[in-house]
């Protein structure tokens, strides 16, 4: 079974965690930034998906 949404969330979480750990030195701040990056990536992907629905032929 393939869950495209799960793959996207896993990808966003991995990228967010690495960037959060690199850009913040404190654990709490890094976790917070990682969460925001993850949510931003997933939210942007969903928004773009809906936008493409309206411009589809």
């Amino acid at each position: 079974m393939h869950s495209h949404f799960l793959y996207m969330v896993l990808f966003a979480a991995a990228v967010g965690t690495v960037l959060g750990a690199m850009l913040r030195s404190e654990v709490l701040q890094a976790a917070r930034l990682a969460m925001w990056i993850t949510m931003g990536l997933v939210g942007t992907a969903l928004a773009l998906a809906w936008a493409m629905y309206f411009i589809s032929p």
Binding site: H4, F11, A14, V15, V18, A21, E26
Partner: protein
């Protein structure tokens, strides 16, 4: 717990040496070699550069994430890019994917690089393996900053 490095026994990074007038002193040959080794280790095995610099927790975190992303991409039937004559963009993609270091070489030698274009997760796998390499290149830059005492 030292929260600045995700590990219990992490020494604080030493500030770069400065001369009496406040200007940074030129790095010695030993320092340059240490920085070079740290960067090479960081490229070859994700996270190892940070571990070598004493940032054990952070290094293990990077290793787990990057290796999971790379081998997860292979398990999702993604391909590991390699240069293909006549397709210039594959050269860029290969440079990015090769950023993951030895796992890239292992995947190429073991024949795990082909992927399965018929799989529903093929494009996801491609993205995972490529981004794992790109993230590790960023981690190498971070390891450089750590080794030079900038972080």
């Amino acid at each position: 717990m030292n929260s600045s490095d995700f590990s219990a026994h992490t020494p604080a990074p030493e500030p770069p040496p400065v001369a009496d007038d406040g200007t940074p002193e030129p790095a010695s040959a030993a320092d340059s070699l240490r920085v070079l080794v740290s960067c090479v280790l960081a490229w070859a095995i994700p996270g190892l550069g940070h571990i070598a610099s004493g940032r054990v927790g952070r290094g293990i975190s990077f290793a787990l994430i990057v290796l999971s992303l790379f081998f997860g991409g292979i398990l999702l039937h993604g391909k590991v890019y390699r240069p293909e004559p006549g397709e210039p963009l594959t050269y860029l993609a290969a440079v990015g994917a090769a950023g993951v270091g030895l796992p890239y070489v292992i995947a190429q030698k073991a024949g795990w690089n082909l992927g399965d274009i018929r799989s529903q997760s093929y494009e996801y796998g491609n993205t995972f393996t490529l981004v794992a390499g790109l993230l590790n290149l960023l981690i190498v830059l971070d390891a450089y900053d750590v080794a030079t005492g900038r972080r």
